[in-house]
Amino acid sequence: MHPSSYGKIGLHLNINGEERTVTIRPADTLLDVLREHLGLTGSKPGCLNGDCGACTVIVGDLPMKSCLMLAVEAADHQVITIEGLNHAPIQQAFIEKFAFQCGYCTPGFIMNVHALINRHPQADCETVKEWLKSNICRCTGYTEIEEAVRSCLLP
């Protein structure tokens, strides 16, 4: 990455295990770059204000709202988007537990709880509830989503 001077910069990103090079504005958010430059439209724009979680991706091993992050900040990290999950257990669990309706919020939820399951495979109820507060769903009940998460945790 070459900082300084207005205009565009060349940036190397590691997305879903692949090295990608993009030419972007330093003011572009990670969400802008994923969707507009890399065609990865699974991360959804919702509020663009950090409130809804629809844009959540995993950076390193943490869920991050990609509307709250500049793409340049992701340069030294591995980024995983919903397109990078390959039949993760939580994806199947969302289907089995009817954890979505329109599906707009689903990629964000899945990325958040995928990170949760990896970091805390035995997460207790309180931790699950705490993490789930980061995402908003306007259609379905949160009970089904919680059930999907629990079904992927170790006893």
Binding site: P3, P26, A27, T29, L62, W131, K133, S134
Partner: protein, 277 residues
């Protein structure tokens, strides 16, 4: 999308950050320090923050310190609220920080960004006001240490280009009895209607607030009233309310009258709990 362009700098030392700020300021670029960046991005998107250059301070080693030196806890301004919560060196801070935004956003929001933010709740400063902490600041004149009260009690008083590097807290404050209560208008995440944090030191109860006024604060006069133990609690609370600074917020989260109503009940609960501890 942020509707304007800016340059992005990533200094590796405090000195470089200060130099960059000075140089960019001279070039008319109105630089800003960029920590978690969440406020700069969200307010930038709607043109409420305008800058020609951001200086990302997260990679400065001093801003990432989390540890003890002699009898003092040192916390770097670039630490995320999640890191602080997980390491838990200052339980009252963990409790207060845990109520800011939501878990995913706290992976990005930093201690320094919360304390220096324009969004005036700045809840993470409350524990430091209660613990008489010190702040380490860097500016054109070098590094200095100041009392947190001089810089962060009420409106933020940082000079132009001054960088908050660290917060220092005496170890003896870290495990004192405390409570932190956040009341919201609704839901389980979101800005406070009122947040009260309290700490008991030498048998006196200290209290600090966010969400009551357009700045976080601790008031010695208000604490004087609350600590008159020979006076009935309700009277103490009445007297304390008279000592509130102004203005009391009157906005979409709640009217000023409603806030005072909630505050009275909160203060009674806090005092009862703290006096029992």
């Amino acid at each position: 999308m942020i509707p304007y362009d800016f340059e992005y700098y990533r200094p590796a030392s405090v000195a470089e950050a200060i130099r960059l700020y000075g140089g960019l300021e001279k070039q008319g670029k109105s630089p800003v320090y960029y920590s978690g960046g969440t406020e700069i991005i969200t307010l930038g998107r709607i043109n409420l923050v305008k800058t020609g250059a951001v200086i990302d301070i997260k990679h400065i080693p001093e801003c990432q310190v989390l540890g003890f030196e002699q009898n003092r806890l040192i916390l770097g301004a670039g630490l995320s609220l999640t890191k602080l919560e997980e390491a838990d060196p200052f339980p009252l801070l963990s409790k207060t920080a845990r109520e800011v935004a939501d878990r995913t956003s706290r992976n990005k929001i930093t201690l320094g960004g919360n304390i220096c933010g324009r969004i005036f709740y700045r809840e993470a400063v409350l524990p430091f006001l209660l613990a008489d902490s010190q702040v380490v600041l860097a500016g054109r004149d070098g590094i200095k240490r100041r009392s947190v009260h001089d810089v962060c009690n009420g409106n933020l008083r940082l000079d132009k280009g001054e960088l908050l590097v660290q917060l220092l807290t005496e170890r003896s404050y870290l495990e004192l009895p405390h409570v932190s209560i956040k009341k919201r208008k609704q839901w389980e995440t979101g800005y406070p209607l009122i947040t009260v944090a309290a700490l008991r030191k030498d048998d006196r109860i200290r209290v600090a607030f966010s969400g009551l006024c357009p700045f976080p604060f601790r008031s010695v006069e208000l604490e004087e009233e609350l600590n008159r133990r020979h006076v009935p609690l309700k009277t103490r609370v009445d007297q304390a309310v008279r000592r509130l600074p102004s203005p009391i917020l009157n906005d979409i989260e709640g009217s000023a009258e409603y806030r005072i109503f909630v505050l009275r009940n909160l203060l009674e609960d806090v005092m009862e709990e703290m006096e029992g501890k």
